[in-house]
């Protein structure tokens, strides 16, 4: 195994949104320098990074110079163009690896990977055309949900099919892209596990959080989750199986449905995850630092939870509530430095902290 990166080494971060911003701050706590790559000059991460490159994803010269300037590259976003990744990987390692990216960029690949390692998901079928959709609906039944295979997030690129008559409109909403039909799952709640794997193969998991979504976007995550000890350990084992199968290095977010039959995997994100933001105020080492430790070859940190936390996303006009939240006891505010509050845009979050129950 390579030596851990020493103080002063540079961490390249592809994407300069809020996740990149919080990764940059975590890198600084370890004495490392964040270098952000993002086309937008005033992106959130550049405001706290030691260096920034503002260039397009197709700017070969800028990508090469960026790769030369850093010691390892990671990403806050799973849809970085393949050609950009190729250019960077010719110079410097990318962590988590390309396989993890490929699997999570495409719902078909993700479902096949999960099934291949023996994990359960909602019933699903790939859908390329109307005939495939009809066949998939015949097998899975209604209600079901059609999702684009690529580039979906926060509820975008999805269409519900409550009855067979909705099928044509749902398929049209995919805009000709490859899609996946998923059966509805009668779940009691959604949880997520934020887990990490080090360069040495060690695995560490945070306490699972319980998620509530509104309009397809994460609204809150609560720790501790309402979860039996058995399911808690199942959740950890599922995350570890995914990490090991991918020879993964870094933090992963695994969304799980809690059902009567046990846990189903909903989605994996090969990066720090919104449902792990609570770790900033509940653990000695948060998910952002854990990710930086992993990709920098440091030992994984202690993710033990020392407080109870409810994380609430501040979306769009929620930002107007900040003056009130600032007066609340136990409220830790994290804003992202975005100038404009558009509907559905994540502007910040608040971690409400209490002594551990």
């Amino acid at each position: 195994m390579a030596e851990p990166l020493a103080p002063g080494a540079a961490i390249g971060i592809l994407g300069g949104g809020q996740l990149g911003r919080m990764l940059a701050v975590a890198a600084s706590r370890l004495g490392l320098r964040a270098h952000v790559y993002d086309p937008a000059p005033d992106c959130p991460a550049a405001q706290v990074a030691a260096a920034a490159t503002h260039a397009g994803w197709d700017d070969a010269a800028a990508l090469a110079a960026f790769a030369d300037a850093v010691d390892v590259v990671t990403y806050e976003w799973e849809n970085v163009p393949t050609a950009a990744l190729d250019a960077i990987e010719a110079v410097v390692p990318i962590r988590p690896n390309r396989r993890a990216l490929a699997v999570s960029q495409d719902r078909v690949a993700e479902r096949e990977f999960l099934g291949g390692i023996g994990l359960t998901t909602a019933p699903w079928a790939p859908v390329g055309d109307a005939a495939a959709l009809d066949a998939a609906l015949a097998g899975i039944g209604c209600p079901a949900i059609l999702k684009t295979a690529r580039l979906g997030y926060d509820g975008k690129g999805q269409a519900r099919i409550m009855a067979p008559g909705d099928a044509a409109a749902a398929l049209a909403a995919m805009g000709g892209q490859m899609a996946v039909l998923e059966g509805f799952v009668a779940f009691e709640r959604e949880i997520s596990v934020i887990a990490a794997r080090g360069l040495d193969g060690a695995v560490a998991c945070y306490d699972p959080g319980e998620n509530v979504h509104e309009a397809g976007i994460l609204a809150t995550t609560t720790v501790p989750a309402r979860l039996s000890p058995g399911l808690r350990s199942d959740a950890v084992l599922i995350a570890a199986r995914i990490l090991n199968a991918l020879d993964y290095v870094g933090v992963v977010g695994v969304e799980l449905f809690v059902t009567r039959a046990g846990l189903l995997v909903n989605e994996i994100a090969p990066r720090v995850h919104n449902s792990g933001h609570w770790t900033q105020n509940g653990c000695a080492v948060d998910q952002f630092e854990q990710h930086i430790r992993a990709i920098a070859g440091w030992p994984l940190g202690d993710g033990a939870r020392h407080a109870d936390v409810v994380m609430e996303n501040l979306i769009g006009d929620d930002i107007l509530r900040v003056p009130d939240i600032a007066r609340e006891a136990g409220a830790a505010i994290h804003l992202y430095g975005k100038a404009e509050a558009r509907p559905g845009r994540k502007m910040g979050h608040v971690n409400r902290v209490r002594a551990k129950s």
Copy 2:
């Protein structure tokens, strides 16, 4: 009272060391932009600030441009030259105010201020020459300690006088500067209170921490401190009296001696303080954010402690222990991005966190 600064506003920070660095990160969490002023191009704070000016303290043009570019100015260091402060204050408010700075820059002024508001310190006398030192020693007795009135920190500019025969050498060590003779205090322990006062006059205090020094430099701070409920409330009242008397805005660090006769004030620092670093991992709002909130006109945050913490400074070669500390359970590492580990140089700190006892 003025409106609180809105997201996107700029906080000017004079001095780019580790305190400025942690202030800059705290500002970012509130959606504010840190603009650091420091002569050193690669100072710790510039690595995490949205903007930086690297120019001398006597560069009138740079100071004016800096003042124009920000909405409020604060400092991480109480020895910013007066002329620089004058240039800035002509353009933009400086918080904490100039009186707080003047009092803490000069031990004579500090002692007079503290006595004037009825607070107890060690016995002291100003010393300008050998005759004054003899007279002071006659009143205070030995052992005693002679300290330069200005620019002393971390045990520098101090000389012990164990017996009258040490007086001449001690005076010579002052290099002709105005000094203060202080009597030794038989104290059980040293504590410090990190307190804050908002622009609206509200006062908030963190739980007092118990400090241990080595070779004149803070080594550890432990919360909770061993302190009776009565002394705990005395400590808070002392801090509040200081803040109100100075019409202070921001965070202050007050070092106190615990003696059989009660609390004595040792020193006040008009800024975030090393002994308050534990708040980063023990409170929803840490001292750095509390300071930014105060100077930005935000409501003060909740400083309630939700965990037990021992803060240890990493000084000089202590940085070599980081790989081991990184494997410890409950250890939160905070490094400062300094390239060179010189003896006595503060390179970082570690907060060891446990669930609240």
